[in-house]
Amino acid sequence: MALLERVDTHPGVQTVFGKIIPQKEAYSYCLRTIAAFSANIFQVMRILNDDWEDRTEQITQIANMMNCAACAGGEDELFQYLDAFYDEWNIPELVKRAAWIGAIWGDYGDEAEDMAGRVIQFTEDRVEKELDTCPWDIVGSEMCNMTTGMFTANFDIASGGEHGEITNDVVLNMCEARGCGNPHCRVVAERRDRFGLEKQGWLDHRGQAVMPVHDTPPERRVKHAQGLRNGQYTNAFGEENSLDWQYNWVAQMGWVWSCSFPLIAIRDMADDDDEFERLLKIVFATAGKNSFIDPFAREGLRAWLDIPRSIGDNDPRVMGAYIQAILGCQLVPHEFEAFDADGVEIRVKQEDFTGRFEMAPLDEITLGYEAQWNGACHTLVSPEWSVWIEEDDEDFIINVGRRIDDRAL
């Protein structure tokens, strides 16, 4: 019997030591790192504004405006945008598609972000979405409320007689939310004219639905979205999105909704940019330092990346390999300029590093990761080593090296 000529190939992210992080694991890690970045930003917000209602209302309103703006333009432009969406997703006329595009939009976004669950009900008067898991639940309760503003925009964009106008045809409630500690999460949209409901304010979206909600028994809940389970997402009308597509979508859009949108409001909560950036660096530096306090965290990283024992604990390559794995899993193109016991240099294009979604570069990625990785380096390797990011023409050089800083954070 003939042997195979070679082993099968499977997609993955290769670490600097040749270990392959399988695609699904890399995708999950990408999601979680973006969520963690968002969680840090939300900590900055909580320092700047100690009023839960006020800060939550601000980010929710901004998220709604930005989601509406994404589809803004003249009526013709909006219709073209919607038609392209219907076409891409094979959404037929029979579902009263203009009315419920929010649900269709939301479902594929949830699935791409591994917010795993199901559409329980999809009728002319009511949509109920149940979520069993959410990698973004670490961000916190304000985030849960903020997403209701985004969903409201999704529903409003294409509904009612005035396309693009905020008509609020539906009442939308996140009845439970994992970010608030509920075991699972559900979002219900109910048509106002059908149920006789009043228009909601930005903080009114956490009430109960009019009609009873469905509770999937724990044994039939799911741990991951369709992409991670089966390699593709399939919407109600049979159109499929591959795991590749979902991964790339999240690596772009995950930053937009979870970081860019709230940051517009959060920056305005500070007295000025210097105050905002000072706090941002402190929060991210602290988060980084706490990443590797536990000895098993350092050992776990070594095992995950397959770092050989010939590279000791106090070696910059440990940190360099960690940063490279993050970049790889976040789909950021990069190349090594140096990788030895004297230091590590990783070159990335500035537009790739900050412009995950090309149309909306996020400079806070540089500020945040420089502080976070520097803090992490102090506990993962040792305080003898630092991480800093330098500009080099149109590139960034991410350095892991020895640097004495008398004012180190």
Partner: protein, 331 residues
């Protein structure tokens, strides 16, 4: 999703099975016209279109060059040179025609936004229609379409539908939609026939019980694998024919089957979940639904034709829901 304890959905399903009900359906419509329309459609579709009388229709599939199903549709001949294609998504069909138009003198366009459609379905649907129309519909043959009127509004009515019951479809201009709906509602009320609101009841539950699938369920299968070999006319030329000849010679690799889920519900089973036999992947499922006539959680699946005969016990999805492979038709 539909659950067995959903009293509203059950009442809607029962109305269609035991009496009559109506709903706005409006699958997409592509109009094909021109001197070469008949020849063009005959090349695009596996069923023989040539010679179809005016006012009659046929069910057929449309294949890609690999012999895989890309659409299933009903073709209605409206006049000598004008045809209507009812498809679940018109723009896809239009793009496919663009790619194959070549020198055919044919015109086609998606007229979905100009036409609305209401379905009246159920054993008493003819009574509702007869109350609506100037002449009775009892003599209409399946897939026969006629020109008539409702309250002075011009409509087209065909005998057809997607529930497996006696049924009729009313086509009207979009601007007449509200008036036509009102007239149907009044006539239907006379027979206690409700308007259905639960999409999954009339798009999924009722059709699936009768073995009626959507094009997404058949995606990529040959018509033979999809149990639709009866609609393929190998004695004419059509796109995908060469691939079908090879497939016939090789025999079916996959089988389009039914599955019955043995748990109370199916929340953990999305479309394309993996089907396993003794832990080994042997196929994928399509959508699951609750069937109120048969009182079961049912669905379609595409499985390895050799490894998974009818009666095979399998598991589906991330929580290994036990299921049994059955014929893809329940009543």
């Amino acid at each position: 999703m539909l659950f067995k304890e959903d009293a509203v959905a059950r009442a809607e399903a029962n109305a269609v099975r035991n009496n009559a009900a109506w709903y706005r359906w409006t699958h997409d419509l592509v109009q094909v016209s021109g001197p070469d329309a008949e020849a063009f459609l005959d090349l695009m579709l596996v069923n023989t279109i040539a010679g179809l009388p005016v006012g009659r229709g046929k069910y057929t599939t449309m294949l890609d060059e690999d012999g895989g199903i890309i659409d299933d549709l009903v073709v209605l001949r409206r006049t000598a040179d004008v045809w209507w294609l009812s498809t679940l998504y018109g723009p896809h069909a239009v793009r496919w025609f663009d790619a194959h138009k070549a020198a055919f003198d044919v015109d086609y366009r998606d007229i979905t936004q100009q036409v609305d459609m209401y379905a009246v379905q159920g054993p008493n649907s003819a009574k509702v229609m007869n109350a609506l129309l100037p002449a009775p519909v009892d003599g209409l043959k399946r897939f026969q379409i006629i020109e008539t009127s409702i309250g002075g509004i011009a409509v087209s009515v065909d005998r057809g539908g997607f529930t497996g019951e006696l049924g009729f479809e009313v086509y009207c201009a979009r601007e007449d939609s509200a008036a036509v709906a009102q007239a149907i509602e009044q006539a239907a009320a006379t027979f206690d026939a409700p308007r259905l609101k639960t999409l999954e009841v009339y798009v999924r539950s009722l059709p699936m019980e009768k073995g009626m699938a959507l094009r997404q369920d058949y995606k990529g299968l040959t018509p033979f694998e999809a149990n639709l070999g009866w609609s393929v006319h190998m004695d004419k030329d059509f796109i995908g024919k060469a691939a079908l000849e090879r497939a016939l010679a090789e025999g079916p690799k996959r089988a389009f089957v039914g599955v019955e889920i043995e748990r109370e519900s199916y929340e953990d089973i999305a479309q394309n979940e993996i089907v396993r036999k003794r832990g080994v992947p042997v196929g994928i499922c399509r959508q699951m639904i609750y069937g109120y006539t048969v009182d079961k959680n049912i669905g379609f699946a595409i499985v390895d034709a050799k490894k998974v005969p009818l009666g095979t016990r399998v598991t589906i999805g991330p929580n290994d829901s036990p299921a049994i492979i059955v014929e893809p038709k329940w009543c």
